[in-house]
């Protein structure tokens, strides 16, 4: 919080390097990555359709679904999160969303979401980890709501079976006010 002194004459050389370099492009053409992206888009459609019971079958039994508050932490266990769901909590959450007792779920906004900007973070023989950007637009009672998030999905493949074993949703406003919504991200 103290004033930074800018010394004159200490120029920073930030000109781009001219040597050839390799960003490792081409990973999105990998068939496993293509299937992972397809699964993520399928998940997005189920969520927009509020087909929650179908949605939870996309997850492995030991999967975690996390919406952290702290933008910098990876230790979700020791931190307060907005959502930190294992299979048990996920199941209870779905029951709550569909059973009709929750007034916010009954009155939830209609949503439409776009996921893009995919990058492959890690790939093994059985898993693909993808990062992406999600822009969700919700509409409820004359008002629009926009929620931006950086997503991480880890997808586990087992033959033809592909399931999500981690979904991490880092909202751009995670550590500021996030309004109660009645729908899932």
């Amino acid at each position: 919080m103290t004033a930074e002194t800018i010394e004159e004459g200490t120029g920073i050389d930030n000109r781009p390097a001219q040597e050839p370099y390799d960003l490792g492009l081409g990973k999105l053409a990998d068939p496993l990555v293509g299937r992972a992206i397809e699964l993520i888009w399928h998940e997005a459609r189920l969520l927009d359709d509020k087909a929650y019971e179908a949605w939870q079958t996309l997850y492995t039994e030991d999967a975690k679904y996390v919406i952290p508050v702290d933008p910098d932490t990876d230790d979700f266990e020791s931190s307060l999160n907005m959502v930190y769901d294992d299979a048990r909590m996920r199941h209870m959450r779905i029951t709550r969303l569909v059973q009709g007792y929750s007034m916010s779920a009954v009155a939830a906004a209609r949503t439409t979401r776009t996921i893009s900007r995919f990058t492959v973070e890690e790939q093994t023989a059985e898993t693909v980890t993808l990062r992406s950007a999600q822009v969700l637009v919700g509409f409820k009672r004359e008002k629009f709501q926009v929620l931006g998030a950086d997503l991480t999905h880890r997808i586990r493949f087992n033959g033809d079976d592909a399931r999500i074993e981690l979904k991490l949703i880092r909202l751009v406003n995670a550590d500021a006010a996030v309004n109660a919504s009645g729908f899932l991200l």
Partner: protein, 426 residues
């Protein structure tokens, strides 16, 4: 500070009666402006818990009404509450929500201030020779007092000490902090959200036992039977609300957990905590394990401190008015400072289950409050009823007005204080 002018101001207090208030209290922007002046800028407002600013130089941003403040702990260990506004041309001097600093420097022309708010440096000071003295231009300091870790500030130098303002609520603050079970209570993290409604809708909700099984039916359906049973207070005659004076009230939902040190040994510990009980029992005596586990859900009540803080079972609820029809809420999860990691984690999971924008409870509360604001514009002169239980209200031995926890005794206490303050009748 200049009060907002309104030729209707003298009528505002008359909009609140003992058992009803005009719905206009939620919808009229002039009333809101008057409330900022007569309530938020005229009494003790909670700004921080001491665990949020643990070290010398620790600070956090907070608000009193609409005004941004910085709360910090200086090298002498004193708490300072400073208006977050440079004395030069008004820029905020801090936009980091919390952290540690030696002082605060305005980004515009680098005027720099100490933790106490003193103006330490002005760049190129020759232009101020004979014009301004640094000692005359500190950040505006507010009066600060704390009670049992709760830090409050006020613009008023002439009102009663904090301890007198809290009055009988002090006993309930002390009992609340016993959930530390021998450890100091600390803030572990916070949820923050806004709803499209007036701040008093949330103020009322804290002691509204009546809504619980209805609005929170989906949460009740999702918890274990023991927890659901613990909160089955609708027909429990010992579950009462006390009006404590000065707008404060306490709604007791779990009578056996009013004083967590008071344990006759008959209550069985909840089976859901078995793994923690087993783990703690390896290193702790059974009494200590029992004390910690019985405190897992916090104190058995919500203590509403007028106007902006509630000590709600196991968390702090802080309300911040944004405008007449928008309010920001913080739910601060509490843990045991230096306590067992597994206990603090379990408390975080309990908090996440109910609280926050995706919690099983908060999202339904928020929907209900939005609906109050939307409905209240229909004939704003039509009263909001806070008369439930008026016919069965009695005085407890301590003199507190008391009725069932599903009654509206707490709301009546808040509105009685609201009326007095809006009337300058303290």
């Amino acid at each position: 500070m200049t009060a907002p002018t309104s030729d209707r101001a003298s009528d505002f207090a008359s909009l609140a009666a003992e058992d009803r208030v005009a719905a206009r209290l939620y919808t009229d922007p002039e009333i809101f402006d008057w409330e900022m002046e007569k309530i938020f800028y005229s009494t003790w407002v909670w700004v921080a818990h001491e665990s949020e600013i643990p070290d010398a130089g620790s600070f956090k941003m907070s608000h009193i009404g609409l005004q941004p403040v910085i709360v910090n702990r200086d090298r002498k260990g004193n708490f300072n509450v400073l208006l977050n506004r440079c004395r030069h041309r008004g820029a905020s001097v801090c936009e980091v929500p919390k952290g540690k600093a030696n002082g605060f420097t305005c980004p515009y022309h680098s005027w720099s201030y100490s933790l106490e708010g003193n103006l330490r440096g002005i760049p190129y000071p020759d232009g101020y020779e004979g014009v301004a003295e640094k000692r005359d231009l500190p950040l505006q300091r507010l009066r600060v007092e704390s009670y049992n870790g709760l830090i409050f500030a006020t613009f008023k130098t002439d009102i009663e000490p904090l301890a007198d303002f809290l009055g009988d609520a002090k006993l309930w603050i002390d009992r609340f902090m016993k959930q530390g079970a021998g450890f100091p209570v600390k803030v572990q993290g916070e949820h923050k959200f806004r709803f499209d409604g007036n701040w008093k809708i949330q103020l009322e909700n804290t002691t509204d036992g009546y809504h619980f099984p209805i609005v929170h039916r989906s949460w009740m359906a999702s918890v274990d039977a023991e927890t659901a049973d613990m909160l089955s207070f609708m027909t429990d005659e010992e579950a009462v609300t006390h009006a404590l004076g000065n707008g404060h009230s306490v709604a007791i939902m779990v009578p056996e957990h009013v004083d967590l040190e008071d344990d006759d040994g008959t209550e069985e510990l909840q089976e859901r905590f078995r793994p923690i009980i087993d783990e703690l029992s390896e290193t702790m005596p059974p009494e200590q394990v029992r004390r910690i586990v019985r405190s897992m859900h916090g104190a058995g009540y919500n203590l509403n401190l007028f106007p902006n803080l509630s000590l709600s079972m196991s968390f702090f609820r802080v309300l911040r008015p944004i405008s007449v029809n928008e309010t920001e809420i913080q739910h601060m999860a509490l843990g045991l400072d230096g306590g067992p990691e597994s206990v603090n984690r379990e408390r975080l999971r309990i908090h996440e289950h109910f609280q926050g924008p995706f919690g099983f409870g908060t999202s339904d509360d928020s929907e209900a409050w939005d609906r109050v604001q939307r409905g209240a514009v229909a004939n704003p002169e039509m009263p909001i009823l806070v008369n439930r239980g008026l016919g069965r209200e009695v005085a407890a031995d301590e003199g507190w007005k008391t009725s069932h926890v599903t009654d509206e005794t707490g709301m009546r206490e808040s509105y009685a204080m609201w009326k007095r303050m809006m009337n300058d009748d303290r």
